[in-house]
Amino acid sequence: MKLIWKLLRQHLSIGQFVGFFFANLFGMLIVLLSLQFYEDIIPAFSGEDGVMKNTYMIVSKSISAASTLGGEAQAFTETDVREFEQQSFARRVGLFTASQYQVYGSLSMGGMGMGTDMFFESVPDDFVDSKWPEDFTAARAESLDLSSLNEVPIILPRSYLAIYNFGFAQTKNLPKLSEGVVSMIQLDLRLRGEGGVERSLKGRVVGFSTRLNTVLVPQAFMQASNKALAPASQAAPTRLIVEVNNPADDAIATFIQDHGYELEDNSLEAGRATYFLKVVAGIIMAVGLLISALSFYILMLSIYLLVQKNAEKLQNLRLIGYSPARISLPYQLLTIGMNALVLLLSFVLVFWIRGLYLERLWQMFPQLSEGAVTNTILLGFALFILVSFFNIIAIRRKINHL
């Protein structure tokens, strides 16, 4: 092997291999770094309600002066919903169900009492970005009996708590409440349905939602309570929650505008930012891959040139009984060695650079959790294996064809 290498390293151009080495290094570095940066930054945009994975929009019909006066229907008909479901951008559509009875909620805290008329809404469980207690999931809907129920779980919009803490409590010198404290408070609820039927029960806040801007109760409870308290009225949905594939899809804006619908909250903005980030990361990664591909070409050309220059030696080795596999081996080991070195160095550089930008990111988003590095490492190894595999095949073919 030593002798073979002594022979075959003749005409090896250091310049070309250094060129390949750096080209490959930059390509690999850009690919891995863009992925790692994407993984690290995306939690800052998505947060725990998972805008990144799923983007939700809440759609209602617009309310205009004319519709207010004319008493135009604000509810979505079955046809409207079906039409929505058929759109290519919509992954799934959920209906908001409103309570068909009156709700009066009151709260007593340290001798102070507050009470208000309120309402409930519900959406299908898998659209809720918080968990319902086990007994209230859709699967238990059948066994839910309103008459024996003492307590109902409620999910409030996270913004309500913010309004209370930073608006109301601040000005009235009331104590600020954390999410944990709120969940310990019990609400007294009085439900009043058709024909004066009344039910009293307790309400407990079990979670907060960033996605849904309403007082949410479990879908199972809503169905049971509507049935028990307002059997005659038909609940038509006035709002829809739609999970979309790609929030920046032009079709969404066009569809919404054409049908005179309105979008609530800015989930679309967050989604757009994520999408934009995805696109940018994708473009950078594509550039990295392109550089990697070009560096692969440089390496292949260098090896071809080397094989061509050493053609006579390789030929002679073949004629004295060396197999193509055996004489390909030194060049294959050379390329694998270089690729491995590039991979290792890329990892070192990626993690070094990551250390630098993570510090900055943490200054901007202190709660930001670190993204995973597994994907970057896997991608690095995948690229290494792919490139080395093609190198090995190409060298072997070239030598076979001598």
């Binding site: 002594k6 022979l7 073949r318 004629l319 004295i320 009984g321 197999s323 193509p324």
Partner: protein
Amino acid sequence: MNTITLHHTLPCVFAQRTDIHSDLWQHEVQLERGHLYLIEAASGTGKSSLCSYLIGYRNDYEGRIAFDERDIRTLRTFEWTCIRKHSLSYMFQELRLFPELTAWENVQIKNQLTGFKSETEINAYFEALGIAERRDTKVGRMSFGQQQRVALIRSLCQPFDFMLADEPVSHLDNANSEIMGELMMEEARRQGAGVIVTSIGHHMELPYEKVFKL
């Protein structure tokens, strides 16, 4: 491998010629293991072509060449590798040594592949052929005659059924050519192998059993 057979073989370049008077071309010829043959050729009669066909380097011929009835056109790459390593030793006319390696390394590059000869045996060959002191000289700096001797040692470092020596002594004096002949025949006898020597004039004095005029 026990036989090498040529069935009406003719190099493609001779296809148009009508004046071919050869003992080999366009004949049915069988070369057998354990025998000694001389192929005498004038320039341009296709000697180098014949050798290239037998080592699997070229196949631009008509007719058929077979090793033990196996048409050599059908041999696959790994089979050729095997034949060159274990069955057919070839001392090239153009030697095909590696000028950047020393005489010793040139022999070792073959012997490491086959593991056939011990260092002592190889040293003895260098001694016998009078090039012991040039052992560590780069082959590129040796005379052609010395290189021929290195090439012979290399060709002896493998098991073989046939030894094909293409003008092995073209640049050697009689004394050296006699030693080379002896070493070659000794190894061939030991292995029970056939020997095919080619020459265009000056050739080893050996007890040839059959002489072909190409």
